[in-house]
Structure formats: C-alpha cells, structure tokens
C-alpha cells in the first residue's frame, strides 16, 4: 500500500539559486527572441502558453520566437530572414566602434552572441556572407571579453569596492561573473586570514 491515493506529492525542493548560469541557460532565454521567417506552409493561429502565434501564410514574412524558427528551419518549413543587424557592414561598424571605445558599446541585440550562433548553425544558407558574420561577431565578442578581463583585473588590483559595467549582455556577464565573484570571495577569505598573520608578524618585529 505504498502509493496511498491521498498521498500529497512532495514538492521537489528548489535548489538554491546558482551563482551563475550555464551558457545553455542563457541560450534558452535567448530562444524567446523574435526573428523573422517566411513559412512555406499555411497554418491557422496556434495558441501557446507563451502567447498566440500565426496565422502562418506561405510566402509572407512573420515574427516567431527563435526556438520555433529553428525548429521549422530544421524541418525545412521556412526560410529565415536574418535580423537587420546581421549584416557585414553593420557588424564591421559595431566591431570598429567596440575596438575604438574603452567602455562597452551597446550591442544590437541583448542576445547577439546566442542569436548569431544559433542562426548561423541552423540557417546559414539564408544568411548572406555567413562566414564573415561569424568572424565579425567573434571579433566583437573577443574584444568585449578582453575588455571585461582587463577591467576585472584593474578592479582587483586597485582593490575597488565597486565598479559599473554598462551594456554587458547576459552571456558576457555569465562568462566571468561566476568566476569573478568566487575569486573575490576567496581573495577576501585569504585577506581576512592573512590580516592577523601580518599584524602578528609586525608585532614580532
């Protein structure tokens, strides 16, 4: 009689909030972003928890979440229209701007990295000059990550209490966020445990 019918299902304990996010989790969030596709089938409006989609008219561009776009694309049910910023000239300008400025420049999309990766992986045939775009976005990303490292480094070196970082995207924060906070924790611990030792030493002298 183990499974008593009246037994209340035990709620699964929610794990304590992880200090950071997986890249996969960030990607999952990015999949809610809307992208434009041209479906090659017709379907009435579909009603989903996240909201209604459709109606799908063949040959007519429409906006759908990225996850659906990828799904349809994989089944060859649509053609993808790349976002406006996913254009070699525009990305070159963004990259140059990013290299020129010391601070972070605003990105065309808060999920630019995730969108680029997913769209180029699954729909590169619909994106003109896909390879160049990949390189450009990677360049921009590298520049920004380098900046981030540099600022973290100076932050730690100068033992600042706080720093302000604008225009960072979720993915970027997560690449260093976890490590940096943990590292700061460790350093704090080391410092606090070091402090008495130092003072003892000084006392010795």
């Amino acid at each position: 009689m183990g499974g008593a019918p009246w037994a209340v299902p035990v709620p699964v304990p929610i794990p304590p909030a992880a200090p950071g996010m997986d890249p996969a989790e960030a990607e999952f969030l990015a999949e809610k972003e809307l992208v434009t596709i041209v479906p090659n089938f017709s379907l009435d409006r579909i009603y989903l928890i996240g909201g209604d989609l459709g109606p799908f008219n063949p040959g007519l561009p429409m906006e759908v979440p990225l996850w659906l776009a990828i799904n349809l694309k994989q089944r060859q049910k649509c053609r993808l229209i790349p976002p406006e910023w996913m254009d070699v000239e525009k990305l070159e300008a963004i990259r140059d701007q990013e290299r020129k400025e010391d601070t972070f420049t605003p990105m065309p999309s808060p999920y630019y990295m995730e969108l680029t990766k997913l769209l180029l992986n699954y729909a590169s045939d619909n994106i003109p000059r896909a390879d160049e775009i990949r390189t450009l976005v990677k360049d921009t990303w590298d520049t920004r990550i380098a900046k981030l490292r540099l600022s973290a480094d100076s932050f730690v070196r100068q033992q600042e209490a706080h720093a302000k970082l604008d225009n960072l995207t979720l993915m970027e924060i997560n690449t260093t966020g976890t490590f940096l906070t943990q590292a700061l924790d460790h350093m704090y611990k080391l410092r606090t445990s070091l402090q008495p030792g130092e003072s003892a030493q000084s006392q010795d002298f």
């Binding site: 090659n40 089938f41 017709s42 379907l43 008219n57 063949p58 040959g59 007519l60 060859q76 229209i81």
Partner: protein, 1090 residues
Amino acid sequence: MPSTQKPMRYGHTEGHTDVCFDDSGSCIVTGGSDGDIRIWENLDDDDPKSINVGEKSYSFALKNGRLVSAISNNTVQIHTFPEGAPDGILTRFTTNANHVVFNTDGTKIAAGSSDFMVKIVEVTDCSQQKSFRGHDAPVLSLCFDPKEAFLASASCDGSVRVWKISDQTIWPLLQKCNDVVNAKSICRLAWQPKSGKLLAVPVDKVVKLYRRNTWENQCDLSDNFITQTLNVVTWSPCGLYLAAGSVDGCIAVWNVDTRQCMERIKHERSYTICGLAWHPKYGQIAYTDTEGNLGLIENVCDKDGKKLSAKVPSTVTKEYNDLFDGDDNDFLNGDLTELQSSPKVTANEEDDDDDLMLASGRPRHRAAILEDDENSLDTALMKVNSNLEGDEDDQADGLSVLPGSSTQRPFYDGPMPTPQQKPFQSGSTPVHLTHRFMVWNSIGIIRCYNDEQDNAVDVEFHDTSIHHATHLPNSLNHTMADLSSEAILLASESTEELASKLHCIHFSSWDSSKEWTVDMPEDEDIEAICLGQGWAACATSALLTRVFTIGGVQKEIFSLPGPVVSMAGHGEQLMVIYHRGTGFDGDQCLGVQLMELGKRKKQVLHGDPLPLARKSYLMWVGFSAEGTPCYVDSEGIVRMLNRGLGNTWIPVCNTREYCKGKSDHYWVVGIHENPQQLRCIPCKGARFPPTLPRPAVAILSFKLPYCQITTEKGQMEEQFWRSAVFHNHLDYLSKHGYEYDENAKNQAAKEQQELLMKLFALSCKLEREFRCMELAGLMTQNVVNLAVKYASRSRKLILAQRLSELAVEKATELAAAEEEEEEEDFRSHLNAGYSHSATEWSQPRTRILQNDQVEDSEEGDAAEEMEEMTAVQRHSKKYSEANKKDPTVPPGNVLDTMSKASKKTPASTSRAGNKQESPVLKPLIPKPKSKQALAASFFQSRTPSTGDKTMEEREEKAEKDVPETAAAATETIENKRPKTGFQMWLEENRGSILEDAPDLEETEIIKEGMSRFRMLTSEERMGWTEKAKGGTADSNSTEVKKRKRPLGASDEGRESQEEKSKEDLSLPRKRKPLDQPANVKLSAFAFKQS
C-alpha cells in the same frame, strides 16, 4: 514636314546614358550605367548587340572602328567596333572619368575625370599623354576643337575652360561662371563642326555661343519652351543647327543663323536628356535620358529648309569672301595669344551677326578658306568692314530672315498622342534582364535565368505542399509565365523558325503526362497569358483571346477590341486589359473586359474604360485572393472593383504614400481582402526588385482617399466604407456558390454597425441631428433601436421620435421580408426575393444577427428592447435552421457552428485539404452540390423542409440555370402548390385592400395584406393555416410541432416559449433559440417582468 518623335524605348538601366551614331550613320550606339554599349540597327531593334565594357560605363566615344569608354574601374579602355573585342587600356585616373571624346580624325582622345584632371592621349600610343590641371572640381565634359588647337572643358567648379593644346597654357573662359550650376547640368559643350568657329555652352536655360579666339559671348540661343537648365548641346554635322536637351526633357533645335527655334520636342516622361547625337547624314537626332531610355526624332530640319537656308547665305558669303580674301594670309598663323590679350575687341552687334551667319550658312566646300577668317580677327579691320558693309548687312539680314521664317514650320501645339504601353505579365520584371522574375504571385515565384551558360526557369511555390520547387530548362526561350495551384503556364514569342508556343505544365494532373504545348498559327504571337481554375488563356498579336482547358482542350476564342496590355485569371473570372485607343499627353487609353468562364458564361465588364492616374500606365493587374479584380498604375494607385456600386473602380491604396524616397516604389505581388493586406516588395530607387538578394515581402494597409482623414469623423467614414468595400466579395462569393467564412461576414457587419453607432454618437454630440438620421438610415433595425436609446438619453427627443419611426419602418420591412419567408416556408418554398425587399440604403449584408456585446450594453431596458431581441431571434432563426440541414452540427452557439461548418468542408484528397486549410491563399473551389445548397439557404433561400423531392430538384435546376429568374421560377412553382393560409386569406381580403387603396401594385398588395394578416390574432391565423392545409396537414403539423420545440426538452426553450405567450406582441413566428446567452437573458428578462 514636321519632325516626328518616335516612342522612347528601354535602352539601359537607370542612370546616365550616352548616345551617338556610328561614322556612317547606319546604327545607333548607346552606353549606359549597366556597363553595356549597345548597337541598335534602328529604334525598333529588339535584339541590340551588346558589348560589355565594365561594371558601369560613364561615357564613351566612337570613331574609326574604335570604341573608347570610361568605366567604373577608373580606366579609359578601347574596344574594337563593332566586334567589341577589348583592345587595351588607354589611360587611368585616380577616379572615374566623366567624359571621353575623340578628336576629328580619331587619333586622340580627351578624357576628363572626377580627380580634376583632363588628359589627352594618342589612341595608338598611350604613352603620349598630356595632362591638364587647373580645374578645382570634377571635370564634367570636354570637347575637341575641330582644328585641334583648343580643348574646351566644363567642370563642377563652375567654370568652362578653353585649353590651348600645344603649350598647355590655360586661359579660363568663363571663370566662375556662376550660371553653370553643375549639379544640375552636365554641361556638354560642343564646337561648331569643321570650322570650330563657335563654341556652344549650355548655361542655365540658354545656349551661349562663344566666338573662337576672342572668346566673347557672341549670342545666346534661347526659347520660351526651355524652362529648365539645359544639359547637353550638339551641332548638326553641317554646322547649321544646334540641338540642346534640358533636364526636364525638352529638346530644342535652333537655326544658328536666325537664332530661331525650329523644333521643340518634349520627352514623353520629362526625364533628363543626357545624350544627344545628330545623324551624320540625315535629319535624325537620337537622344537618351537618365532613366536609360533611347529615343529618336526624325525629319529634323528636313531638306527643304536646309536647301533654302544653305542657298541664301552662300550668296552672301561670296561677297564676304572677296572682301576678306586679302586679309587671310596675314593672320593665318597669327599669334593667338596676342589676340587673347586684347579681349576688349568690341565688334559691334552687327558684326557678330554677320559672322555667325557666315559661319553657319557656308557651303562645305568653302569651309577651308573661310575658316581662316576667324584667325584673322582684327579690330580695326572689323570696324572698317562693318562700316563699309553697312548696306550689305541689311541686305543679308533681310535675306536671311526671310528664308528663316519660311523654314519655320507650323508648330503643332495640341495634345500629343502617347505611345501605347507594351503588353506585360503582372508581377514580372523587364524581359531583357538576364535574371528576372517571370511572375511573382500569391502561389509562388517563377524566375528566369538567361546567362550565356544557362537558360532556365526556376519555379518555387510559397506553399511547398502545393508542389515542390522545380527547375526547368528554357530551351524555347519562354518570356511569359503564370502560375496557379494547378499548373505552370509558359509562353514564348515566335522566332524565325519556330511559331509562338504556349506550354503548360499541369502538375496537378492525375495521369502521367503532365505537359502540353500548343503552337500558335503563323504570324501570331502570344502577348499575354493567364491561368484560372481549370483553364488557361492567352491573348495574341492577332487580337484574339484563346481559352484552353487546363488539360489542353481548345475552348472559347474571341476577338479583342484592341492590342492586349495584360490579362489575369482567378477562379472562373478572366480579365483582359487592352488598348481602347490612343491616349494623349502621356495618358493611356485602356479598356477592360471581365468575363466569367464558368458554367454560365457571361461578360461582366463589357470593355469599359479603365481609369488610370494622369500620365500613368498600367503596372499590375490581377485579382485579390478573394477574387475581386484589382490593378495598380505607375503612380502607385491600387484600384479595386467595387461590386457594391455598379462595378465601378475605387482607389483603395496609394503605395507612393508609403515610399520614403521619390524614386522608391512598391512592386505589388498580391492583394488580400480578408485580412486586408496589400503584399508588395519595397524597391529602393527602382520600380522592380532584383532577383538577388532575395526580396522580402512587405505588407501595406489600404486607405480609401476620403476627405479629412485626420478628423475622427473622416477616419470612421473611411473605415466604414473600406469595410463595406472589402466585404463586397462575400456577396459575390455567396452568389456564385463558393464557400466562404460566415464568421468574417458577421464580423464585418458588426464592425460596420459599430462604426455607424460611433459616427452617430459623434454627430449627436455635435448637434447634427439631420446627419444622425442619415446615419441611422444606414443602420440595421437593431442598431437603430440602440440609437433611439442613445438619442433619448442625450435628451434629443425630436431625434428620438424620428428615429423610432425609422425603427418601426425598418422593423416592418424586416418583418415583411421575414413573413414572406415564413409563409413560403410553410409551403416548403425557396424565397429568392428576400433581399429584394430591403430598402435601398440598408445593404442586405448588414442584416445579420446582433452581437452579444450590443445586447449586453442594453440589458435591463424596457419593452422596445424586447422587440429588438425578438428581431435578433428572427435573424438567428434563419441561421439555426440552415444549420439544422447539416445533421452533424449540434445546435448551439451559432457562431461556433458556423465556424465549424466552414472548417469541415475540406475536400477528400489530402492535397486539396491542405490547400483549403490556408485561409488566404487557397484557390476558391466551388462546393459540392449539397454545400452549395446549404450556402444558398443561408443567404437567399430556404431549402425545403418537407421533402418534396421533385420540386426540390426542379428548383435546384432552375436556380442553377437561371438564377436571375429564380424569382420567376419560384412563382411558377408556387402555382402548383397547395395554398397557404395567408394566400387564402389574401384572396378573400384582396377586395377590401383594393377598396382602401385602389392604386396599389401586386407586391404592395401582398405587403399590405401581410401587415393586415399579422394583425389578426394567432388563433385566427392558425385557422386559416389549417384551412389551407386541409388533408395534407398531417406532415406539416408535425413539423410545426417540431419547430415549436426545436431543442426538445430544453428548459430555456420552454421558458422562452412561455415568455413569448405572455408577451403582447405574441409573435406568430415560432422562435428558435439562437444561442444560449441570448436565451438566458431573454428568460431572465421574462422572470424579471413577472
């Protein structure tokens, strides 16, 4: 003989275009921004030889079999002519050259570039270069002195310079001549041929003539005809005439002697003239514009004029010649710079005139001698001459003026005929493109690739479930195509060996041979094609329209009243647009035929004129997805057939309003009425899109051009009429037995009534009571009742009074119609005349059941409301009864069942099913018979409920064959039926009605009779009915019972029944609950009352 202007033709893509004749004048050569140099045998040459010289050709020059072109990689190249083989690079600049010219003997070229440099290069030895620096801005144009002493150049810095070639000294002629607004004009200069005595410079609206060596402004040529800046000038080969072209498309030709304007020609589209060339022998001028078009003017300054003007001055020159003879040698090699240094030479006006006359009027064989005159300009001598020859001057003037006036032909100033536009396929891009769209419609896209290596057609379907994408070889060189969900139709023009062919790929055929071809008779070219449902059609150059079945059976054939422009098909409808006649002043004169090719064939539009915007031509023609004819003109106005107003055309959208730039356009690919969408492709700076990158479809909304659209009133009026216009197709569909979405119809009616109510409220607020009444006239009865309430609440009692009268009127009308129906229902009769009894203003489509919302808003009001609800039920009954015919539909919410019914219809095959799922793009498929009957029962008639089989059959047949006479048919059937109670009553009481009102017509008698019959008590009426039925009453009475309890033991039903009996009105009609909420409300109301 007046000059004739041949119609312009497409030469190149948009952009600067140059033109010249070859040395012998046998062909016209043009160079355009598409990088091609084309050699045209004549203006009608449809297959010019093209030499590709680069990505973009800025300018070219032709002489002695050498073609020099300035192209976009900053070089000046030579090609052989006419073979077009590359022959090396002559020179390079740091940026592109703007103009290249040959010298007279073709040994040197001069090129002026945007890097401010002018170079002269030996054609045979490109190491021999001379560079001229001095301009402070890009060089616009150049011109060699025929004697090669000078080179003239114009530049963006506002100056025209004359360079002395030998020592490269510079003396600016028109330093900072601020008139030359070079952004406006490319300022093509020209030296007078042979003598080079005069240099013509287009400055603003005049052509300034400068005299050689003195560089004085000898005179100006101008005319009132020229209203914009002049762009180019060119001399006639004889040096007698000068032609100039302006930026607004005017070309004027002057006789330089008399300074009289001899020709005034207006470009048909007023594009900027950027190239002018005079035929080396004949009086022809070829010209090009910045849109890449090529035109030709013939018989310019014809022979007679030439003879006269050539003869007269020759006598004069002889005398001059003698006079000048002695002086020639002294100054033959005179120092030019010396002359230049004394520019104060002030020969008086008469002198100038003389010289000018001499120069231009001189016979050729004397040219060599006379040319020396110019070099021997001497102030003193000139003065002497002028004094000496005072008399002669007069004489000369008199002589030259006289023939001048005689050469001036009467200038025709009236309307000019417009060249007729060529036939085209809707949704195609120009045929000459190597990569082009043959068609882009709501089914798919057909692209044509016509490269050297490949000539193919690519078919792609928007909906891949219709058919997969296909790639076809295009060996027959098809130029026209159409695409439907059944077939691909291709057509080619005839060639020398092959006849014009129609090729159909019927992919939806169920047998294995899916293709067929038909050859046209000899000398008959297909000019336009289209596909409908189950048929294909083509219009040919023999002014015939040929109709085929989709399987290839030849069917109807009919003559067109004029050359076809375009045609379109949809379902059973075929629309042909043709030239009805010649348009004038840029207008086209088109006619349209619209016909139905279904079972009963008829012509809907009998060659009516097709309204187009002024000076525009047709760009697109087709049907909306719902089957309403539409077309788009070159001004971007979309027009749609308004079936609600006697098949007139209504402008529904102006795409140019959505354009950002002036040269941007929208290329229409499809029109949908529900939802209202204008699907088109935005084209930046072009009229049509390129195939690559793949263009994306944009959606524009429609807007009727109503007045004061910024005000609330204007907006709502626009919305109301747009809604009305865009739902006309529902009436059409129902009339033609197509299935359609009833939901949409109800929605539309609701929307329209809401808008009317809003407008009513607005007018009420503005104290516009008369306007309120007018608006109420458009409303349905239910909404009028609401309006009554609104009026009485806003204390407009007179209005309320009038409105309630109107409401009563409407109610009686409605009831009369209803009654008629009811009566006939007893006789299991189809009432075809239902909608005829409606008033002129109330559109039948608006009499639809009322929506819940309206009911909600008025709950808890007095008895008039009750009436309203009953009216609602009256309406709804029709629907629910119709639904009852479909046994699978459970009674319930009417809207629900309706949508279900419409969803259930997909036909048997999966492919067809797929097609039908798409609510917008599907072709309309006529329903199976039973459905047809169902649909018919919704809107015009009732299917018989007591099954008189033969009657029904006959009736159906009658309806199918002659629905127009359906009413008549029903009448005949009526006579054979057993009489109804009403009829019997009417027979007895007809006399009394006629007594009261002797001048009533038959229908009015019936109406009157009905209202009287209704005033009888229900028992009395029942009695009449029973009487009428007599023995056959059995089945009918059971039916009546059934109708009394339509929902069986439904509580609400019973309640409403009870309530009904309580009610004063005690309507004789048995109600059927329309939908639950209404019923519940009704019963709740009843309880409240009691």
